[in-house]
């Protein structure tokens, strides 16, 4: 059952990702990206990361994609659909990426024996829930990075307003 679900979600992720970078219309790209993000959320659930599953759907699909769609509505011109979509040096980029992909595939193939740890499934889902464990770790061990992240978000909010506002 897990295997079937994994392949279903993986197909959703990959098809969504390919459509994201090939669609002419930016709105279609955004919708394909939403599919891809939902597939990633499903994979989180498959790996017992329930909190990240919720965060992925609420934050990515609910928050970031809404922002993207807003900006597409604001910015897109009618002429966009008819123009060339890819830059002139796409062949070079594709070749480089294929080379890197071959390397990654080779290393994963050669090193697959090193992942024997993967079989057990891990004791993450113990008596304590997933969210509780993340909270324990986040608010004790990672308290300083957590505060720095909140500062980063504040800077991002101020920065976004400063950039997007016409006259300050």
């Amino acid at each position: 059952m897990d295997t079937i679900l994994f392949y279903a979600f993986a197909a959703l992720v990959l098809v969504g990702a390919v459509l994201t970078i090939t669609c002419k219309n930016a709105v279609h790209s955004a919708i394909a990206l939403i599919c891809s993000l939902l597939g990633v959320a499903g994979l989180y659930l498959l790996q017992q990361a329930e909190f990240l599953f919720a965060v992925q759907i609420i934050l990515y699909v609910g928050g970031i994609m809404l922002l993207f769609l807003f900006v597409i509505m604001l910015v897109n011109l009618d002429r966009e659909d008819k123009e060339r979509q890819f830059s002139r040096s796409w062949m070079v980029a594709l070749t480089a990426v294929v080379v890197v992909g071959a390397e990654l595939g080779y290393f994963l193939y050669r090193g697959r024996g090193a992942f024997h740890i993967a079989e057990g499934g891990g004791p993450v889902a113990a008596a304590v829930g997933n969210t509780e464990m993340i909270a324990d770790s986040l608010f004790s061990e990672y308290l300083l990075p957590f505060e720095i992240a909140s500062l980063l978000l504040l800077v991002a909010v101020v920065g976004a307003v400063v950039m997007a506002k016409k006259r300050i």
Binding site: T3, I4, L14, L74, F86, G101, L108, G120, L152, L153
Partner: protein
Amino acid sequence: MHPVTTVHYLALSAALLLIGTVGVLTRRNIVVVLMSIELILNAVNLNLVAFSHALGNINGQVFAIFVITDAVAEAAVGLGILIALFRNKETVRADEIDLLKW
């Protein structure tokens, strides 16, 4: 069918990373470039969660939360820059914005 191992997740994550990289390198529309960056960050998260699950260690998921935080900040600032750029140059094409080129 073989059971799903960490290697499957790593392969999927590598594929997602490569697709995102192709998008960043080849697309002309800046909005789609930013979306491709989101794809890359999702590939990283998938990797982190896969190892967190495999090792039974929660730290990977905490790191994934930090990566998501960065993705949110990046999207907000990037789209803000895009709006400012569009107001001044009337274009969302990455190769038409060549003010610093000579």
